[in-house]
């Protein structure tokens, strides 16, 4: 469904990602892991169109979207839930969700999706009219997720959903992520918390300083990484 082919992405003059290739099959959960600064967020931003690659291509459903603007990519079915939540803090929970469906015109579909999201995250329904900025960290994460889902994506890009969340909430979030995948949405998940990510993902890419160091089925990669750690005595 998604094929990234040898992209270089720069932050200004600094190369953040070099010759990166990855692919995601429809229906999968693929995870992109690595240490801080490895280039994971940059990769997601490039897929979303927030940053444009200098080389290489990004193919979505066999269409080259490498130079397409972000809002057009949203219309094609790609949604990014950015790192750090980024809700519209001055707007209410409900308005945030409404905006998530900004590019859509199907009233019925929007209504159904909203109901689904309130079922996934009951706390959002409770706080429907509250200003998003007053929500707790975990609630904001749910709102960001919900808002993204309102866009009716086929491919969901998740950037560190566990960041800054208490362990109890973590489990909930990951349950929801599984449920979202079960409903047919393909997920590309970026995480520092490797263990949780590997548990739900089928395939994994490990990044280091802007490149893919290793990839494979998540179980295999876990074993490999453990061996390496044992070998190097980390």
């Amino acid at each position: 469904m998604l094929r990234v082919d040898g992209i270089d992405v720069h932050y200004g003059v600094i190369p953040a990602v070099r010759e990166l290739s990855l692919s995601v099959e429809k229906g999968q959960i693929v995870t992109l892991v690595g240490a801080n600064g490895a280039g994971k967020t940059t990769t997601l931003k490039a897929i979303m169109g927030v940053l444009l690659p200098r080389r290489g291509s990004i193919l979505y459903k066999d269409e080259d979207i490498s130079q397409l603007s972000s809002d057009k990519r949203v219309r094609k079915g790609i949604v990014l839930i950015p790192e750090g939540r980024h809700v519209f803090s001055k707007l209410s929970v409900r308005d945030n969700l409404t905006l998530g469906a900004y590019h859509r015109n199907d009233r019925e579909g929007i209504r159904r999706d909203k109901e689904w999201i309130y079922r996934l995250f009951p706390v959002l329904k409770e706080r429907e009219m509250q200003m998003a900025g007053t929500l707790s960290g975990g609630e904001q994460q749910m709102l960001a997720l919900g808002r993204g889902l309102m866009g009716h994506p086929e491919l969901l890009l998740l950037d560190e959903p566990s960041l800054g969340l208490a362990p109890i909430v973590l489990g909930e979030i990951y349950e929801v992520i599984k449920e979202i995948n079960n409903s047919g949405i393909t997920i590309l998940l970026v995480e520092q918390n490797i263990s949780m990510a590997m548990k739900i993902a089928q395939y994994a890419y490990v990044m280091e300083t802007g490149k893919v160091r290793t990839e494979g089925k998540s179980d295999d990669v876990m074993k490999r990484e453990n061996i390496m750690k044992a070998y190097l005595g980390e």
């Binding site: 603007s69 972000s70 809002d71 949203v74 949604v79 980024h86 803090s89 001055k90 409404t98 900004y102």
Partner: protein
């Protein structure tokens, strides 16, 4: 000291001028909210609005409502032109560069007006039905004063509804908070910015008509002082806050009128200078304004 009527009169004047400043501040704050840019050329739209009205109403004799429509349309159009030509290219650069370019465009337009219209001010009269004088009650006023206050309130209410209830209005607030996040939700921020310019400029153009009616004349530089005062209004009310802008405008109007009222007669010319004092005072005491967010420094 003075009879009670005098104070009521000044209060009323304060409300009228305050309404105009509030509208101007609203327009400027909308653009500032989205671009983080002081749109100096905003003042030029006031001048242009005044002149458009003059040309179509006084010279060509079109009916009032049609002329107002033309003012709004042309004002909005010019706003988009400014957006695309002037700001689109410099957005993202150093702040000072944006300010200078913005200034350059104001000067350009002002002198273009000077060239076309000559430095002479033109006497400006609103339509007959707005020009009637009433002196019966406590205060003296013209119908145009009522028009100004009512229209201002109406526009502010409409705008408020717009940003709270419509999808595009919400998109504007979202874009103002974070352009990047807005893009991720599928909002085309260039279109939103253009829309902001259209709305702000149309409002400014209408204010030009009001300004001309109040002062009885229009001239090529009438937008300058108005623009500076709009900015002061924003600072008073809180940069980045829409209700703050409107509040600031009202307060400024009142302050101006009251200072003129209480100053000895020969000092009425200091009116514009008072504005500056207020600005400095606010910047010392509370730079973020009454309703504004704390300016991080």
């Amino acid at each position: 000291m003075f009879p009670a009527e005098y104070y009521f009169q000044q209060l009323f004047n304060g409300i009228v001028f305050g309404s105009m400043y509030a509208l101007l501040a609203l327009g400027m704050t909308v653009i500032y909210g989205i671009l983080r840019l002081i749109h100096f050329a905003h003042g030029a739209l006031i001048t242009i609005g005044g002149f458009i009205f003059y040309v179509f109403f006084t010279v060509f004799g079109f009916p009032f409502i049609a002329v107002m429509g033309i003012v709004i349309a042309l004002g909005g159009l010019l706003g988009v032109v400014l957006d695309v030509i002037a700001y689109r290219k410099v957005v993202g650069g150093p702040e000072v560069s944006m300010l200078i370019t913005s200034l350059g465009f104001y000067i350009f337009i002002e002198n273009l007006m000077k060239l076309i219209a000559t430095p002479q001010p033109y006497p400006f009269k609103p339509p007959m039905f707005l020009d009637r004088l009433f002196s019966e009650w406590l205060i003296t006023f013209r119908t145009v004063d009522l028009f100004i206050v009512i229209t201002s309130v109406a526009i502010m209410l409409l705008f408020n509804l717009f940003v709270k209830k419509t999808k595009i209005g919400l998109a504007m607030v979202a874009t103002a908070e974070s352009g990047e996040t807005a893009r991720m939700v599928g909002i085309n921020i260039n279109r939103i910015i253009s829309l902001a310019f259209i709305i702000a400029s149309a409002i400014a153009a209408i204010t030009g008509f009001m300004w001309g009616s109040k002062y009885g004349q229009i001239s090529y530089d009438m937008g300058f002082t108005a623009g500076v005062k709009a900015f002061v209004a924003i600072v008073i009310g809180g940069v980045g806050s829409i209700p703050g802008a409107m509040l600031g405008g009202m307060i400024l109007g009142m302050l101006e009128m009251f200072s003129v009222a209480f100053l000895p007669p020969g000092y009425a010319g200091y009116r514009d200078g008072i504005v500056f004092f207020v600005l400095i005072l606010i910047l010392i005491i509370r730079p973020s304004g009454i309703l504004g967010e704390k300016e991080v420094k």
